[in-house]
């Protein structure tokens, strides 16, 4: 079937089977390599994308339900000013190790900050609950998001 949606602010149209996962379409057909598969069952958040501004696990989204939606991946988000703030926050806080979880955490941070531009550490912890990281132990990611919120004051 043909699905039309907006990916990173550009219209795309893909010919796919309706049972395909958004994750596969993004990775295989649209070359969005920042979207990672960590578990394939909605547990790790490595495949996070923003769907109409909401954080979703793209491994759980059937492509049919994406018709007409806005999808944002890190490939699009990384061109924004907000991303710059998160990038700087993550850099100074040592939030990245193996990096496999990182795109997911960047988008989780965006989702969190756009909902709540001034979260406490606890709120950040809650906000990233759906994203697993096996390398950092999370504190340095939380610090990165708190740092980003300062750097990017006024952007969210």
């Amino acid at each position: 079937m043909k699905i039309d949606f907006v990916l990173n602010e550009e219209k795309v149209s893909v010919e796919v089977e309706h049972s395909n996962r958004l994750l596969d379409v993004l990775r295989d057909d649209l070359h969005q390599i920042s979207v990672k598969e960590g578990c394939g069952e909605g547990e790790c958040g490595s495949c996070s994308v923003l769907m109409n501004g909401k954080l979703v696990n793209s491994c759980l989204i059937a492509i049919a339900s994406v018709d007409g939606c806005h999808i944002l991946t890190l490939e699009g988000y990384r061109k924004t000013k907000r991303f710059e703030a998160i990038r700087k926050g993550f850099e100074v806080s040592g939030s990245v190790q193996c990096g496999f979880c990182t795109p997911g955490f960047v988008l989780a941070a965006e989702a969190l900050l756009s909902e709540n531009p001034d979260p406490s550490a606890l709120e950040v912890m809650k906000g990233i609950e759906g994203n697993l990281c096996r390398c950092t132990g999370y504190q340095m990611i939380v610090a990165g998001i708190l740092e980003a919120k300062e750097i990017g004051k006024g952007l969210w």
Binding site: R27, I33, S34, K36, E37, G38, C39, G40, E41, E43, C44, S46, T73, L74, E75, R78, R87, F90, E91, G94, V96, Q97, C98, G99, F100, C101, T102, P103, V106, V124, M125, K126, I128, E129, G130, N131, L132, C133, R134, C135, T136, G137, Y138, Q139, M140, I141, V142
Partner: protein
Amino acid sequence: MSKISESIKRYDFEDKIQGKAIYTPDFHPEGMIFAKTFRSKVSRAKILSLQLPPLPKGYFIVDHHDIPAKNIVPVVFEDQPVFAVDEVNYIGEPILLVVGPEKRVILEIMNNISIEYQIIQPILSIEEAETCSAPFIFNNKPYFVDYEYHKGNFDDSVRRAKRVISDEFKTGYQEQAYLETQSMVATYDGHTVCVQGSMQCPYYIVEALKVALGWNESRIRVIQMPTGGAFGGKEEFPSIPGVHAALAAIKSKRPVKLVYDRQEDIQCSSKRHPSIISIKSYLDENDEIIARDIDVKLDGGAYAGLSSVVLQRSIFAAAGCYNIENLFVRGTAYATNNVVSGAFRGFGGPQAFYAIEMHMENIAKQLKKDPIELRRKYFVKQGDTSSTQGTFHDPIVLDLIANEVIAMSDFKSKRLRFESEKLKGIGCSIFYHGCGFTGAGEAELIKPSVRIKKEKSEIEIFISSTEIGQGVLTTMRKIVSSTLEIPIDHVHHNYPDSRDCPDSGPTVASRTVLIVGRLLQDCAIEMKKRWNEESFEIIQSYVYPSHLRWDNQIFKGNAYPDYSWGANVVEVEINADTYEIDVKGIWAVYDIGIPIDDKIVKGQIEGGIVQGLGYAMMEVLESKKGKLSQDTFTTYIIPSSLDIPPIYSKLVKNPSTIGPFGARGLGEIPLVGVAPALACAVQQAIGTNITKIPITPEDIMKGVQL
């Protein structure tokens, strides 16, 4: 603070934060097709027959017939086949690959393979292996290896003893749970096969390809791709998917991608060894510990893998940080029809330190002594001999480490207070991690070498050490540029490619900074002397330090080239309704020498502690009839951001005498001591001894009711 410790921006940061880093699953060479592994569904059987469906055009089966040389995965022993031939020994053992352009068709083919087994009685636990009446799995004995070593005069001390305190502990499996599953891409150009993938040890894969293909090294190339976590799980295991992908590429003459799905990865890749450890301490009339008897049993799974070396580390570590003059230590790595156990951060250490630290706690309890002060009495010091009778040549600052952790955590007053406050507890652990390969392994087995090249003002590092998130692409540049006293941006370093990187050894055993970093420093010192020359290169190989010695037959001498040390305190409160453990704080103090980069070090510490926390109280992983019951991230629970207590860590300054800039190994030690400190805390909180990890609410419920 040393200049070198000041953090800089990681060299792998930009690619990763922008999502541009190409991990193996993201890599699509022109013409690439896919492979999937068809695996045993039974834990032990003869394969009577195997029927394949007709294959559509462009699809291939790859099995043991396609191996030109030896059907062996070389690790320590040569018992494990690349593909099963006529028998299988664990659930998930690879039998063949289905290879072709479409994943959907591959799955269809897999579903239509029929296989007839004749079941053999499996051996499914350490206990079953010990008393096994079924046919043996390995060489007519129930185990892969059994070891023992002695110190002092054990028998005499036992006779002299007035009191014996004994304990037995069990530890469970742990899954590395790197976020990127095992992934390989192989290409073949008619002459050379190239394997690119997620790995810790490129030269282990080179060796595995040499053995399976029988080819000369010039026809084999292995390149590490950005790797989404490893933790030991990408040490020896990737040789299997690496060789599989290569065989498929050679047969199909197309690039082949082999990426495991999560469930497959958990079921089939190596795990931390489950253990049963018993310790008996013999005390004299003054309640002095005069001798110790230690017995370590590991479940090695179906093939020997690294079990022998894990067991060695385990039996050396089981003596703890204590100078007990008389020791009798045994260890056995049993062969069972479970998934193959293997490398995991700590490598036998976490099991051993859990046991010895709980045992020290229990002795303190019985003698009504302060748990840290009892430990302190026996701390090893510079000039003492280790459990294997090697002299500790360097200063050991355990006293300082203990003092710091007590002060930071307010251990003593909390410990006292919680005696009368229900369901609250605080516990401690003291531990070390030997850095580098066991004994003289660095010189005799690994023989690492490194290469650096100068081209005008640009320097390039060539080593086989991999970037697995621990920061090697940054720390090695720092070591070289600081030695040369040049701006770091003139130093270049890439992911390893066996074509131009010599074998610097595997990226394991907390050895990279200590051993490889030191070799690079030596090269750079030499290079600095010749700085006026425009272009040249220096290759440096490891030389065993002359003040160390090791006899691998009787395990006597310096078990490791260097040691890192640490102490943890964990405070808990048990939820009275759910029996869940609420961790209030973790305090950690380490001597890792001089940190090469403060931020990277902090990241290793916090990540390791959280993995240790998972090991201690969350990550339940059980084999039921040879099948792991928790094989998804829904059932195998690793810590999420909501499980993280406040973590306070601190380093004491005690430079290594052999590491570059005084640095020692760091990667593993943060995981090692968490479980015992946490279990000691739970023990105080509920007043009943904890004898196993992970500690579940069910365990606590049983304990509390008593």
